[in-house]
């Protein structure tokens, strides 16, 4: 059994850890509010963009000549996966969940005999993937310096992706990120951005008589790269809100656990103190009796 001194030391150390986790929780909560706000504010832009593209692609007549970003290269051999994670740890299952989802997808791709290329955004993703998929990682991007998520960072990622697409380095591009639902739930998402998936058939054909200026295909070829940056930006916003939310609940749990541990240790400390006193008393009494 640990001595009284050891117990005392452990209690203080757990207490100071608790102080740290509590502070981290507060910081995460403050950041979360901001991140959540900007995630919500960013939604109209990406939704509108998506809508316009849906309307446009619904009206396109010859699929043959449609921009490659929309229709794809016609092949399905090389998959590029953009895995978006955080730059900092201590945020619960946030990164692990994305990686888990991404790894499932990687396995599927590799099992089908296709080529896999990975871009990691955020250092934590790279750390977790480098051991198994190190050879597949073609680029790692990190925005450790930028304080807030901004559009220019997203644009940088988007441009990298498009450049690689134009060099015919891949056929399909999928991004992985966490969608922010609420503080306790973040849903890992995979979203295919190239070729664009027009899954919903919401395009109301009655109103397809758009006037285009300049030509339809020119608009599309201009708009699609922008849409990719926008989708990535949206993913980054969702991700940062999720990260803070995840960190907040993780730190809340840690604080609670530390509290429980302090209670347990305190009881143990008091017990052994009591035991020591009793022992001493017995010694004195039996010493007096033997006289």
């Amino acid at each position: 059994m640990a001595s009284l001194d050891d117990l005392k030391k452990r209690i203080t150390s757990v207490k100071s850890t608790q102080k740290i986790t509590k502070a981290m929780k507060m910081v995460a909560a403050a950041k979360l509010r901001r991140a959540q706000e900007s995630a919500e504010k960013g939604r109209p832009y990406s939704d509108k963009m998506n809508n316009i593209i849906l309307n446009l692609s619904g009206g396109i007549s010859d699929i043959e000549n449609a921009p490659k970003l929309l229709s794809g290269t016609g092949e399905d051999k090389i998959h590029l996966c953009v895995v978006m994670t955080s730059d900092r740890g201590l945020c619960g299952g946030f990164n692990t969940n994305i990686i888990k989802k991404a790894k499932l997808y990687f396995q599927k791709i590799l099992d089908e005999g296709k080529t896999l290329k990975i871009i990691t955004v955020g250092t934590k993703g790279f750390d977790q993937l480098k051991r198994v998929y190190g050879d597949n990682i073609i680029e790692r991007i990190s925005f450790k310096e930028s304080k807030n998520v901004n559009y220019f960072d997203a644009d940088k990622v988007g441009k990298t992706v498009i450049e690689k697409f134009e060099n015919k380095e891949f056929d399909v591009c999928v991004i992985f990120y966490n969608q922010f639902k609420n503080v306790i739930t973040q849903i890992p998402q995979e979203q295919q951005i190239i070729p664009l998936k027009t899954t919903d058939e919401e395009t109301n054909s009655s109103d397809d008589n758009y006037e285009f200026e300049p030509e339809e295909d020119e608009i599309l070829s201009n708009l699609l790269p922008k849409n990719i940056s926008t989708q990535i930006f949206k993913a980054m916003l969702e991700n940062s809100a999720s990260e803070q939310g995840s960190r907040m609940s993780a730190m809340d749990n840690a604080t609670r656990n530390a509290g429980e541990m302090v209670d347990k240790l305190t009881i143990e400390y008091n017990r052994s103190r009591q035991a020591a006193i009793t022992k001493e008393l017995i010694e004195i009494i039996s010493g007096a009796e033997s006289l």
Binding site: S38, G42, E211
Partner: protein
Amino acid sequence: MSEEYSLEIVNPEKSFLLKDDVTEVVVPAYEGEIGILKDHISIISFLKPGIIKVFSKSGEDSYYVNDGIIEFKNNNLSILTSLILNLKDIDKGKISEIQKSAEEELGNSEISDQEKYLLDQKIEVLKSIN
């Protein structure tokens, strides 16, 4: 009959402006300025750097945009842009900053004619503001 329609301007960071009482919007479209009144035909177009003028019951507003896409449909005008500044409370320093980076880019010989044209436009507009 009222001649107002609704306008929404969004940029990636937030919804910039929402208005229900605009009567006319003049936008710097790719092939020249377009004025949009109520019941205009559905249109999708690109913007080049320039000034958006918004006329409404409550007055007239002007904004500088870097680029953008407009969509007009069912008397709803949406403008999506990456950078928008209100000319009323504009920061002169910021304008010269944008202008400077545009001029620097123009000095880069690798750009296409189209980009060159856009940059020229941009610088011209910025000069007129300053």
